[in-house]
């Protein structure tokens, strides 16, 4: 670890400020992130996040590929723990530009799959958050559940992490015969596990002590920094694109938007953000149940897939709610085969940018909790 000493003079005694690097190889930075911490003893004076270690320039690739359909696998690799949601945003954007009509069955499958993915992603986020704070057991329990979702995805698409399952106009292939049964089974067995998780971790006294009143993000600051998703909702703001700006068929389902309440500490602390994710999983289960009921049994999922994507000139900004927040794709099409410009608005990037604002003055051990509670994926930060 690289340590630099800066002598600063204090009125009474000579104090030393220390600059220390947390990362890029640090287990609780959730990827290759380097935080320069300016420390006074154990108190964090300043944080300077350094990113770019995973930068592949997704946007450049998208522009140079010369084809709209081949961009989808690249979107998978942005937020690799919720790849389905990333694909969904992109294909919806292209479909809107094409003014394509999507079959009912496809819409239902897409919703079920993206909500399953949301649960899987939150399970990883929550599990890793607990692990960062020394709670090892919940992590293992949650990964068992996540495994079940990945098994469903593997049966459906053939891959466990990067699926390339959604295509413009439909899906790569139909879901397997027992998809409905498997998903219903998962919903049934998973619901009691949330209660188990609450007993084991959420209302655990040690866990509350580590997360309550830590990393407080007031609503005003959250809005000024353009936070979205569970981070914004953890601060008490009721804003969810699935409800406020519905895409796909989300307007047909009945579900609530959980928000932080400052139950065990201050509104907008790490615990609030954590708890929003736990409660969102319950709501996702509700959506999945309703979607399973409404899903038509028959129908060709590749029916509306265009043979060649030919777009007229235009630009679109399409936003969807991923497990981490508002994911936007801004696409400009000219008359050529591929997009002229693709810009992805990644929620993790925005959330990381406000880390200095919420971690000033905290202890170095709490830094780990704060980084864990904003649940960033570095693949999406760097794109």
């Amino acid at each position: 670890m690289e340590v630099m000493m800066n002598k600063t003079t204090d009125s009474n005694s000579e104090r030393r400020e220390m600059v220390i690097n947390m990362g890029p190889q640090h287990p609780s930075t959730h990827g290759v992130l380097r935080l320069e911490l300016v420390l006074d003893g154990e108190v964090v004076k300043e944080v300077r996040p350094n990113i770019g270690y995973l930068h592949r320039c997704f946007e450049k690739y998208a522009e140079e590929l010369g084809d709209y359909a081949s961009v989808t696998p690249y979107t998978d690799r942005m937020d690799y723990v919720s790849a389905m949601n990333q694909e969904l945003g992109y294909v919806i954007a292209i479909e809107r530009l094409l003014e394509l009509e999507i079959p009912e069955r496809v819409e239902y499958i897409r919703v079920i799959i993206s909500e399953l993915q949301r649960i899987a992603s939150h399970l990883l986020g929550i599990g890793a958050f607990g692990l960062d704070l020394g709670a090892f057991t919940p992590f293992l329990y949650l990964f068992t559940e996540r495994e079940k979702i990945l098994d469903i995805f593997e049966k459906t698409s053939g891959a466990r992490l990067l699926y390339n399952y959604m295509t413009v106009g439909g899906l790569m292939k139909d879901v397997p015969k027992d998809f409905k049964k498997d998903t219903a089974e998962f919903v049934k067995t998973f619901r009691p596990k949330i209660k188990e998780l609450n007993d084991l971790l959420s209302y655990n006294k040690i866990f509350i002590n580590r997360t309550a009143d830590i990393g407080v993000l007031p609503e005003k600051v959250a809005l000024n920094y353009a936070a979205s998703g569970p981070v914004l909702r953890g601060s008490g703001m009721k804003w969810d694109l699935r409800k406020d700006d519905p895409y796909s068929i989300y307007d047909r389902f009945d579900f609530d938007i959980p928000v932080g309440s400052g139950e065990v500490g201050t509104l907008g602390d790490c615990w609030d953000r954590y708890m929003v994710r736990v409660r969102e999983m319950e709501q996702s289960l509700r959506i999945i149940e309703q979607a399973l009921d409404g899903m038509p049994d028959e129908g060709d999922v590749t029916e509306a897939v265009p043979k060649r994507i030919r777009l007229k000139e235009g630009e679109i900004y399409c936003r969807t709610e991923t497990p981490r927040g508002e994911l936007g794709y801004y696409i400009i099409s000219d008359k050529k085969g591929g997009p002229f410009r693709v810009k992805a608005r990644a929620p993790s990037f925005v959330h990381l940018s406000m880390l200095p604002a919420i971690s000033k003055g905290s202890l170095i051990a709490d830094m780990v909790a704060i980084v864990g509670s904003i649940d960033i994926v570095l693949g999406e930060v760097d794109r």
Binding site: I51, H55, K60, L223, A226, E315, Y317, R341, V350, M354
Partner: protein, 176 residues
């Protein structure tokens, strides 16, 4: 010169109000208003972005700066575009404000004093396109190394390799 910029556009109530108020207060700064795929785009004069942003935030409730990004239009004049994606949570309305700048010394005022979120967004635009933001508190490269000379998202930058650097191995198999 105050043409009815919103003519022949179907705007929702708040967007109509936005366009009306802007053309009333900044009549000579508004260049063009158009719609595409349901979104509304307003092109404004680059030098007055700071005051227009301030007005949009304070008078018209666009408190949420969702994104700032650059576009390389690859044209001979006004090559670079910077787009501000604004959202009014109260009215659930989005508007896109665009400015254009020249290829030589692209420069624009930073909007960090108005929305803190602009900090990293503008750093990314600077890193990728080389658009300089005046009065930005911390304008450093965000992804690329500090001594990197090029701007990767400009259209002339190649997909593989750095210009003038060591030659890349051939991507086609040997024919002999």
């Amino acid at each position: 010169m105050t043409p009815d910029l919103s003519m022949s556009l179907e705007l929702s109530e708040h967007l109509q109000k936005t366009v009306d108020h802007l053309s009333e207060n900044f009549s000579d700064k508004l260049i063009h208003v158009y719609q595409s795929s349901g979104d509304t785009f307003i092109i404004v004069d680059a030098d007055s972005i700071l005051e227009i942003s301030k007005y949009l935030k304070e008078e018209l409730h666009y408190i949420f700066l969702s994104d700032v990004f650059g576009i390389d239009r690859y044209t001979s004049d006004e090559r670079f575009e910077v787009v501000y994606n604004l959202l009014s949570l109260k009215h659930q309305q989005r508007v896109f404000v665009k400015i254009r700048c020249e290829e030589e010394n692209p420069e624009v005022d930073s909007v960090v004093p108005i929305w803190k979120a602009a900090n990293w967004f503008e750093r990314e635009v600077y890193d990728m396109f080389g658009v300089y933001f005046r009065n930005h508190p911390d304008l450093r490269r965000i992804y690329m190394p500090e001594d990197f000379e090029y701007f990767p998202l400009r259209k002339e930058f190649p997909l593989l390799g750095i210009p003038g650097s060591i030659e890349l191995p051939s991507t086609t198999p040997d024919t002999d």
